[in-house]
């Protein structure tokens, strides 16, 4: 493995680990707000117990999320130095705001949530809980604005003097449609994760006949909030599909294993077996019109296939080489206005020319065969994207059915009557995490070979460091994060087994445990 593969693997491992904790934090924070609102409205102590017990599990997860998130930010400097130099002017701002928001809003109110029960009135504590939930979700907003820019780099321009991308319109970065769609989709997925967590643990209690009143109420909240969230994930995921269809056509084509352009109205492939050798998808089962409606919001626009997009990439590389040659000339004649005008005309495809850097450093001398190879390298891993997307969507629809059933049973006060349903609810516990991790694969692995779509190839973003250093730190992360995961599972299982009665009494034991 070279430095590029190792750096990618390290970021993927840390991101996937981190994303085990994030969705649950997002979801539980809102659920705590809802439960505490009911407590304030009804004044029934059982609702306070709900908030405190799920709050302990939230606290364990929150601490692990913070610990695994910090290392990712440092990797931009250690493993992705050229990336940080090339796009740091744009990417750094939302990342810094996210850090500050977590430091000032989230961290402050998480302290109030755990330690100020006896120092605040009920309404004041409720406000603190909601501010914690809002802070948690706002952190996700800023990190997804940064990530959205990597998928759709708007509001920035290449500066030939500093040789990097610089912000030209911060509001465009902020209101990037891809970032907004990703934010609502991701936080909704987090709400689903939190709801499944509460639903599954409550089902476990009901199956064992323990804490029945507590579990019924928890399940009722999880079922209603989970149903609304699961429906939102699908609707908002559709919006993500539309924005990707506008700006990341190759990703959509790869998700669909769509080698040839799909004429209007484009069909959606429900099932098929992608064949990389023949550029075909065997045994396709298609839904007419569906892809056109998702990706173009119309029935009269074709959706370009992989082969056509590779063909386009070939010409974009050639156009990018004009920008590259012009940059070389500007280096020799920095004040030549005509050269700068030429660069302005072709700079949009400069990133495509940089794809050739994987093959040779003097890319201005690239052969036609090398340009063809670089164009072919714009195809992501089709089978991985095809199946990841379908499993993610399949889990999404299963969870809608699960929550709809739970909601229906809850409305009729029959939640603990059907043991088969409680078993299904309990064994569904890992599903939202699997869907969330697959979603990350679709979004980030599907963006390859770009680290910034169309602007900077991933291979160019890495640091000039020894691969041994990256391998050493990667092994360190795997060991350290595995230890954290074991600690997380140990603590969660410990408190779940204890249940609300034992976990919440005596009160003196709560605070240290939650702070662990």
């Amino acid at each position: 493995m070279d430095i590029v593969e190792l750096s990618r693997l390290q970021f993927a491992v840390t991101a996937l680990y981190h994303f085990i904790f994030v969705p649950l934090t997002l979801g539980l924070s809102i659920l705590l707000g809802i439960m505490e609102t009911v407590y304030v409205m009804t004044n029934k102590p059982i609702w306070r117990d709900l908030v405190k017990f799920w709050g302990i599990l939230f606290g364990i997860n929150f601490a692990m999320g913070v610990a695994t998130g910090i290392t990712m930010e440092f990797q931009f400097g250690t493993n992705w130095a050229y990336y940080s130099q090339y796009v740091g002017d744009v990417f750094g701002a939302p990342l810094a705001i996210e850090g500050l928001m977590a430091f000032f809003l989230e961290a402050t109110f998480v302290g109030l949530f755990f330690f100020a029960w006896d120092r605040l009135s009920k309404v004041q504590h409720l406000i603190a809980t909601w501010l914690l939930a809002i802070g948690t979700n706002l952190s996700a907003l800023w990190i997804l604005i940064a990530n959205g820019w990597m998928q759709y780099p708007v509001g920035a321009k290449f500066n030939a003097d500093t040789m990097r991308m610089e912000v030209s319109d911060f509001m465009a970065v902020l209101f990037n449609p891809v970032a907004q769609a990703k934010f609502v989709h991701t936080v909704s997925a987090g709400y689903v994760t939190g709801s499944v967590f509460v639903l599954a643990i409550s089902a476990y209690y009901l199956l064992r006949g323990r804490h029945v009143a507590f579990a019924r109420r928890s399940m009722t909240v999880a079922a209603s909030f989970g149903l609304a969230s699961a429906l939102s994930v699908v609707v908002l995921g559709d919006e993500s599909g539309y924005t990707a269809g506008q700006n990341q056509k190759m990703k959509i084509a790869a998700i669909e294993a769509m080698w040839q352009t799909e004429p209007a109205p484009a069909s959606f492939t429900v099932f098929g077996l992608p064949d990389l050798a023949t550029h075909t998808t065997k045994y396709e089962v298609k839904v007419p019109w569906a892809l056109g409606l998702i990706v173009t919001r119309s029935i009269d626009e074709p959706v370009p296939g992989i082969d056509e997009l590779v063909h386009d990439a070939y010409f974009r590389i050639k156009d990018g080489l004009i920008a590259y040659d012009t940059l070389l000339a500007i280096k020799r004649h920095p004040r030549d206005g005509a050269l700068r005008a030429t660069l302005e005309k072709h700079v949009g495809n400069l990133g495509y020319a940089l794809l050739l850097k994987r093959q040779r450093t003097d890319i201005e001398n690239a052969t036609d065969a090398q340009i063809h190879a670089a164009a072919a390298s714009t195809i992501p891993d089709v089978p991985v994207l095809f199946w990841s997307f379908r499993f993610m969507v399949g889990i999404g629809f299963f969870l809608i059915a699960l929550f709809a059933t739970a909601f229906w049973l809850s409305a009729r006060q029959r939640l603990d009557r059907y043991r088969w349903f409680l078993r299904v609810a309990f064994y569904s516990l890992p599903l939202p995490w699997i869907a969330a991790e697959l979603g990350w694969v679709v979004a980030e692995y599907g963006r390859q070979p770009w680290v910034i779509e169309g602007v900077l190839p991933t291979a160019m973003g890495v640091s000039s460091t020894d691969p041994g250093n990256v391998l050493f730190s990667l092994l360190g992360f795997v060991l350290f994060y595995s230890a954290l995961l074991v600690a997380d599972f140990y603590l969660l299982i410990k408190y779940i087994r204890l249940g609300p009665d034992d976990a919440l009494a005596p009160p003196a034991r709560i605070a240290p445990a939650a702070a662990e």
Binding site: Q85, Y86, T108, R119, L120, Q124, L327, K331
Partner: protein, 50 residues
């Protein structure tokens, strides 16, 4: 919104956090501490340095 004592504690904590961040910035990350990447090196990574 919060009791006076707690309000003072929260404000104090936020000021302490801001002071700590500022101190970290001025001690380690201010422009004086920043090592600008060599312009030649940046160019050579993007352009073929000849």
């Amino acid at each position: 919104m919060f009791p006076a004592v707690l309000r003072r504690e929260i404000i104090g904590l936020l000021i302490a956090k801001a002071a700590l961040l500022s101190a970290l910035y001025f001690l380690f990350f201010s422009p004086a501490h920043r090592i600008d990447p060599a312009p030649g090196l940046i160019q050579s990574h993007l352009l073929n340095d000849r």
